[in-house]
């Protein structure tokens, strides 16, 4: 009885001393500032900043190797707070959101064959560039949804991804994930955008899809700011010149010029806790 108590006690003591020694010898100095900055960052570990994890970016920001606005997912108010912590002047980048430059979907875009393979855009792309007649159209298997670290993208019933501009932080992960290159980051203040990526001639686009841009020049003529240009039979709006008057939407015979329904809230709800934990 006494021997057992002694032996267990001695073992516990030895291990305790060992751990204490290890704790002393292997002490890790953590700058309290790093912790504060980490808590302010979104915490999605998306890697867009180039640092892999939010904590690594926080370390870099504190060491002044990186600017506080390097994270595209951080709100301007938060960037200001981080800059305040470091005693710096905040530099604020313009906020961008991802837009889907396709309005096709099951209803409007015509299929050229039925696809039964893996439900993944990259896989579908391997077979003759996808199952749509329009070689530019959204395949609708949702690779962008998988890629989004902020759960900002949902699939509509029409097999078109819908991006929630409130949740979208403009990290650009979906832009890289789309094999068709249909997602683009546009400044939030630009309300109107041409939801089509087809560079086919007008007649071909019209045959493949009921909502494709046919390059008819109507929007170019109506725009008073000269913000719209047509290149490769496809209209594009220059965000620098556009004043959001909305006349182009009214004249478009195909209804491809879409409006972003978004009024920015003053203070966004805290991101922490809403973010999906990635990986495991």
């Amino acid at each position: 009885m006494i021997a057992s108590l002694l032996i267990l006690g001695i073992l516990g003591l030895i291990f305790g001393i060992l751990l204490t020694l290890a704790h002393r010898r292997l002490k890790i100095e953590i700058n309290p500032l790093v912790e504060k900055v980490t808590n302010l960052l979104p915490g999605a570990n998306c890697g867009t900043c180039g640092y892999g994890r939010c904590i690594s970016l926080a370390e870099a920001i504190v060491k002044e190797e990186a600017e506080p606005d390097l994270c595209p997912a951080t709100e301007p108010e938060i960037i200001k707070k981080i800059a305040q912590l470091l005693g710096k002047e905040a530099r604020i980048k313009e906020k961008k959101t991802a837009r889907l430059l396709c309005a096709g979907g099951k209803k409007n875009a015509k299929e050229c064959f039925s696809y039964f393979g893996i439900k993944d855009c990259q896989a579908a792309m391997l077979i003759a560039g996808g199952n749509l007649l329009c070689k530019y159209g959204c395949l609708g298997f949702g690779s962008c949804i998988e890629a989004c670290p902020f759960e900002a993208i949902k699939m509509s019933e029409d097999s078109l991804p819908i991006i929630d501009p409130e949740k979208c932080k403009g990290c650009g992960k979906c832009v890289d994930a789309c094999p068709k290159g249909l997602l683009q980051l546009l400044p939030l203040r630009q309300k109107f955008f041409v939801a089509c990526g087809s560079e086919d001639k007008g007649a071909a686009t019209a045959k493949n899809c009921s909502v494709g841009c046919i390059g008819c020049q109507k929007c170019v003529k109506v725009c008073e700011q000269d913000a719209i240009t047509i290149e490769n039979f496809l209209a594009r709006i220059d965000p620098e010149k556009c004043n959001n008057c909305g006349k182009c939407t009214e004249v478009c015979p195909r209804g491809v010029i879409k409006q972003l329904n978004y009024t920015p809230t003053i203070l966004p709800p805290p991101l922490r806790g809403r973010i999906k934990v990635r990986g495991n």
Partner: protein
Amino acid sequence: MISNDLNIFLIFLSALLVNNILLIRFIGLCSFFGISQRIESSLGMGAAVTFVMVMSSSVTWLIYNFLLIPFHLQYLRTISFILVIATLVQLVERFIRKYNPTLYQALGIYLPLVTTNCAILAAAFLGIDYHLSFLQNLIYALGISLGYLLAIILFSGLRERIALSPIPKAFKGVPIAFLTASLMSLAFLGFKGLFGL
């Protein structure tokens, strides 16, 4: 029982394949299903388990043979072994965090999880139950841990493929993982015919 004059190579193979800890003995299944979605994470877990298992079963062997047996305190082995494992994991965690932060970040939560992995405790017990010598025990623990690594990597490779295949809704996720594991276990049962231990 493994006798004392047994070939070290046979002990190693027995632990690695014939009595694979995950697929034949069914020990340590929680982590086997918990973190086998991706090959990278299962590699990290496998590496952490290998390291801790070899270290801990050596230390527990010493404690059992030189501390517990002389005082006839064999019944204390469970609690003292858990003590050893917990301490070792803590030490290893601190050490890696200090000298290799990149590896620490890669291992992440798996390192502390190793503490509660029953396979580690099982390896310590099995080595003692088979009355192995110190060297044999070391090789046995190495075999068990490499068997763990092998099984979990094979399994996560399968799961990565399964995640992309069209599976009936009722089987998606864990059910198909259970089925896969049982089929893998059947395959490993084939090694039973190699030699008997």
